[in-house]
Symmetry: C2
Subunit: 797 residues, 2 copies
């Protein structure tokens, strides 16, 4: 009954798209037309999938397979059923995310890394993003594409934490208002995200630390453990309550022998596996970036994709699902298995190559899929690895909420299994010399491979811990650790981690690492990179100056200096503080006072004035109809007191006041007077100790301070005088410049001057006095290097 399906599809779409506008409706209509060939499935089971997602992320895949299984009469129908399902889901996911919150696209870990670094990416932590991410992710995972969920889980958990923080702050205030506390919440949330994705609390905490932090406060450590433990607990308890499991156990439980897990002589094989995974991981990151960059560079493709945003994911899904179609290519790569099933099969503790895959598979039927009547199990594995490798690299570039960890993990497991099976064939009786026969366990190799490849892609060591928790066995700790460390060593020397790569692609405001061991070379000082044109206000600034500064810049805080001449930095003032100062000065209450006083003076204008007054009083609700009755001034005054104004509002108010009061020229005059008055800072909060650097601070030191303290900007002072400001942006530019071309890009005249000055000594942190002296005498830096050089030479000779 195609009608039922359509009905359901329509319902599902209708449920979410009511507020989504025209675009989604068009898409839905298009899909409805395309979905006509599908056969009926239980509407109820489909709807329940969304809810039961937590228990088994692949419930959808079961439905797909079930649908596919029911159509064994007709190959074409089978194919269409197999293909349409993922295409619809991915297209819906992409469209839904695109419309509701494009920030929900992708992994989320790079964004969380940036946010935890201290950069505010506000739109990434909104309720809209939450809805888009959860629903988009559910659909994307349900499609059966090689997509992961650990990154999105981290994002979703962080969204929960951010929304919870907001909620608690609104409800209780106090401690929840603290900015620092919010960061701690987010940091713990990241651990929760990974923890409940794999039911791996310890690995989750460590992975999230490795992936998101540069410097980690050990103080926060136990919070992460606490949260992650409970998330993992709830996650696994659901399986018990759902009667899937008898008690809480590992997600992918292995049953390797405990008494003799591996022989010492197998270690070289594990090491080679680790190194190979290192190269594979680097290749994956490179491939992933290559695809994105290719699409960006190819202008025709780019244009087309920008216009038809849903074509790309639909196309990719179509290709991938066509290639995995079980009667087609899929038969050579266990195409009918979901990621979960494949992993269970790969971690199996039997040896496929010896026993033959098809034999005695009573309780895990999935392994059957790896056995092809004509083709060797090795061919199947190699085919699986190669196909999944590029498929995963392509699939993770689709604009849907998705991660890459799980696909990579799976590929690693398959590669490990391949190595293990090869070893088993080479040493059918095991390697152990002493009489007793301990055969090789290829499943152990699969575990090692999975940890090594995912470690290589993400540049983390904690994947080792994740596999222990995931499999419930720690017997292979040594091979896993060795392989993961080797894989990391290889991958880190070849490519950035996948998340850093995405940060670069997305151009997120993240501070890159300074190249290790090279920092002595960076002959750059803060003065070379700082912005000299600082916005500031002085003690004698007028309100007009404040207004101008507020309207021009976008900085969160503004410097307060003593006077334009001395430029001595007194502190910094938050933008909001200045805004409230301005609104106080120009606010309706003072305005009313003035008008009232004015009205007293010339009593003839009373009525006029009162009409204007009432207009003013209603100004906080611009949509209300102009009120025509005159009401008492006391009410208006009360209105005025409640008047809370932002800058935009102030200027808008200002404009409207001008319009309203234009007939009264004395008001405009009054306003001009008000703006010319010097600012009264008495009711204003001033941070008396904003972060200051001296101009001679080296780039390396600045970088360390910025990353350690999570600074956004710092003022540069010279003997107490404000000479510049350096923000994350300048610092990033400087570091990227110096990382790629060793300081050439950002070399200002002064840097080269320093080079010529002293060549024998290490000048990274010390400088010679005469320069200090010259600099200090001159009080401002000479912009032209030549005279300075002359002075220097004169001094030296």
């Amino acid at each position: 009954h195609p009608w039922v399906v359509n009905q359901w599809a329509w319902q599902m779409y209708g449920r979410y798209t009511q507020e989504l506008g025209v675009y989604a409706k068009e898409e839905a209509a298009r899909l409805r037309d395309g979905g006509g060939l599908r056969r009926s499935t239980s509407v109820r089971s489909r709807s329940a999938e969304l809810l039961e997602y937590e228990k088994d992320p692949c419930a959808k895949c079961h439905a797909q397979k079930w649908m596919y299984g029911g159509l064994n009469s007709n190959m074409l129908l089978q194919y269409l059923a197999w293909v349409t399902y993922p295409v619809v889901l991915i297209t819906f996911s992409a469209g839904f995310t695109q419309i509701l919150a494009p920030q929900a696209v992708g992994s989320g870990i790079p964004e969380m890394k940036t946010i935890l670094r201290g950069v505010v990416l506000k739109e990434y932590l909104t309720f809209k993003t939450f809805v888009a991410k959860v629903i988009g992710l559910t659909c994307a995972l349900g499609s059966g594409m090689p997509l992961g969920k650990e990154g999105p889980f981290v994002h979703v958990a962080s969204l929960c934490a951010a929304l919870l923080s907001k909620f608690m702050a609104a409800l209780f205030g106090g401690i929840y208002m603290n900015e620092l506390r919010n960061t701690e919440m987010l940091s713990a949330a990241c651990a929760v995200g990974v923890g409940c994705c794999f039911a791996a609390p310890i690995g989750g905490v460590l992975f999230s630390i490795e992936v998101t932090s540069t410097f980690f406060a050990v103080r926060n450590y136990w919070r992460g453990f606490f949260a992650a433990t409970f998330s993992a607990f709830i996650f696994r308890v659901l399986a018990v309550w759902n009667q899937d499991e008898e008690t809480i156990t590992a997600l992918f439980k292995t049953r390797f022998r405990l008494d003799f897990p591996f022989d010492l002589q197998e270690l070289p094989a594990f090491a080679i596996l680790g190194i190979a995974c290192g190269f594979g991981g680097a290749l994956f990151v490179y491939l992933n970036r290559l695809i994105v960059e290719c699409m960006r560079k190819q202008k025709t493709i780019n244009k087309f994709l920008l216009r038809k945003r849903l074509v790309f994911p639909a196309m990719v899904t179509l290709i991938i699902s066509t290639l995995t179609f079980p009667p087609g290519f899929g038969q050579f790569m266990a195409g009918q298995l979901t990621q979960h099933e494949s992993l269970v099969a790969l971690l199996d503790n039997r040896t496929w190559s010896r026993q033959g895959v098809a034999e005695e598979f009573d309780y895990i039927s999935h392994s059957h899929a790896w056995k092809h009547p004509q083709v060797n199990v090795f061919i199947t594995l190699i085919f699986f690895i190669v196909m999944k490798f590029w498929m995963s690299a392509v699939a993770t570039t689709m604009p849907v909420p998705c991660g890459a960890f799980m696909p990579v993990f799976l590929i690693g497991a398959a590669f490990g299994r391949l190595v293990g099976e090869t070893m088993a064939v080479m040493f059918p009786d095991g390697i152990h010399a002493d009489g007793s026969v301990y055969p090789i366990v290829p499943g152990g190799y699969a575990v090692v491979g999975a940890a090594a490849l995912s470690g290589a892609v993400t540049h983390t060591v904690s994947t080792a811990v994740i596999v222990f928790e995931l499999t419930g066995q720690i017997s292979h700790i040594l091979p896993v650790m060795i392989a993961v460390i080797l894989a990391n060593a290889v991958a880190q020397s070849l490519q950035p981690s996948l998340y850093d790569s995405i940060i670069r692609i997305k151009k997120l405001p993240y501070l890159p690492e300074l190249g290790m061991g090279h920092h002595e070379k960076y002959n750059i000082r803060v003065e070379d990179i700082m912005v000299r044109d600082v916005r500031y206000i002085t003690l004698s600034s007028s309100y007009r100056d404040v207004q101008e500064v507020l309207l021009i810049g976008q900085l969160k805080t503004l410097a307060l200096v003593e006077s334009t001449d001395s430029m001595i930095l007194l502190g910094s003032i938050e933008r909001s503080q200045l805004q409230s100062l301005l609104s106080l000065q120009l606010g309706p209450s003072r305005r009313l006072d003035h008008l009232r006083r004015h009205a007293k003076d010339n009593d003839t204008h009373t009525l006029d004035t009162h009409t204007h007054l009432s207009n003013l009083g209603n100004m906080d609700n611009p949509l209300s109809p102009p009120c025509t009755h005159t009401h008492s001034t006391s009410t208006s005054a009360r209105h005025g007191v409640r008047f809370v104004v932002s800058v935009a509002e102030v200027s808008r108010t200002h404009a409207r006041v001008m319009r309203v009061l234009n007939p009264l020229p004395q008001i405009a005059e009054w306003e001009e007077q008000q703006l010319d008055e010097p600012v009264d800072f008495n009711n204003c909060k001033i941070d008396p100790a904003p972060f200051q650097l001296v101009e001679r601070t080296s780039l390396h030191k600045t970088h360390t301070i910025f990353s350690l303290l999570g600074l956004d900007h710092a003022y540069v002072t010279s003997t107490g005088r404000l000479v510049g400001v350096v923000s994350l942006r300048e610092l990033r530019k400087a570091i990227e410049g110096s990382v790629t071309v060793t300081g050439v890009k950002v070399r200002p005249p002064l840097a080269s001057f320093r080079d010529s000055g002293n060549n024998t000594t290490n000048v990274s942190e010390v400088t010679e006095l005469h320069k200090l002296w010259n600099r200090h005498r001159g009080l401002s830096l000479p912009r032209d290097p030549t005279p300075v050089k002359n002075i220097c030479e004169a001094h030296c000779n």
Copy 2:
């Protein structure tokens, strides 16, 4: 043959005490007299114990038991043999450590925590300490006292790293000279120490991070893993080579069932176990501190102990070994088992209370010790726990190299086993409801208890990871995590961690944590705690000033200001730089120049001068006999060039020069002239950007910056003028003051003034302008609060 034992004891002592002086010899003689009753054991096996220590830390205990077993004829002889052995070993360990390097006493983790914080404790990382620690620890562990080895292992590994760094720096220079690199090495070494103590690489890394760091650079993370993995590998490979194990497995391998490790309904029991362990851990830390403080306060005890340093360890050992004597009290507490054997027995996967301990113990005979013919196994366990608890707390205060982790771990395991056995008695058929019978595994409770108690004592969560690696099973992850987190929550709210407690007892220069959530209350600024009397030199300083400054202060760096009037901070100069400036100015080469010039002027004094010149030339070897022949000035000049002088040497040289050259008044005069000359800073390295704070920086911010950047001191400037310096010491005082009495102790007049000034707003990070303004106008802070208050009030009204 008592003679053989004596001979051996003498040999052993003789080997190490040759250079140890009279004290050790006296002790050895005393012990030799006391050791006459012991029976002969193989000298060779005893000597080998020291070497085989790595393979089995309890080889000595075996020897002790063997000795004891061979004496079954006479109870008194048995007792004496049982007691003398540990007393001799502990006394030797204490004496040896005391004489060679008292820094080797104790755990080492508190010291490493302090060193990694950035404070240089040089004598803790010398070769002498290394020798003392290794030998002292070997003897202490061999004694069979309830002492641990993880802290000393951390120290030994750090010592290795520090010595290796020094060696590499001397050999290759370059990267190994880097201070930062040394810290990274030490940080990795700590991980190695824990890692090879338990063969737990992951747990080792995490434990060392938790225990030693406040902020951790994730960059260094993999180094720790790398080092710890290889250390664990080597450690376990030794067991394989020694034929103890067939392959690399866990140290205390458990054999719990994999299919149903525990039931959900057992979780409350695990939680209660965790909470109880939290209280127990806090009690242990308290008890340990109490013992030390009691001994310190009791003046008569203290005096006696200071005079006879070896009496205390000998006495403690005597009492403890008497109480564990197997035919005595020892029979109720499995006294004949070593720590290792006890732990193996406690983690056993059979239920003692049901099966009866004595039944069918074929492969682990140690469990037999827990079965007493008359007494219940519960009584034995309780007796064991109570006795071991206070014994461990007392034993770890002995002045020998020892840790407390292992004893605490053992007590925790025993307590867990007790709870587990109780559960097994209460639910003989297991708790699981569904027909099938899964009995409770008390061994699992032992694992949980061990992790929880050791976690509570050390305030770490990573003991959970350590037990997984130690037992080779991760099946109990959830109960372990829950118990550890609860134990931490309880213990952290009651007592500091054992290591922080020792830091306080030893008064190590470690920066304590700021109380969480209270920092808004600390109304303290840097200006309130800084030292105003800063040592500085000015651009116009004479060499005499430099000499004075160097002779008075002990600071590593000195501030350079423009002039005494302006006090504008230009940079900081290292002490060594100033020393070399001074030695250049007064050094022999210039002196010789002067003398030569002088000699040219009045040729009559040539011989005299040359004699003095040769004296000067030999001055770098003060012990050489005065040389009487005149040698060429060129040789002297060469001598002079090689003359590298430290301050002490400079002043010594100065004094000797004065003495030697006194007959030549023109030399003394020349010297005075030289000292009065202004310093030429041109050849001097100046750090142009020393770390600066403004005086209004809050205590909280200062603390954060100090702990993040690992600062030792920072200059406090006001509009570029140096007004003070704040070092770790001041900061520590301020924090300790505010932590204990909420800011009363360190409240200077200004802090209370700030309180009365603005009471409604949060003043932690912001201040009002008029204060800034006043301050800036006055250019120095008014010391008396009253006038400022008046100004403020005048301003406000």
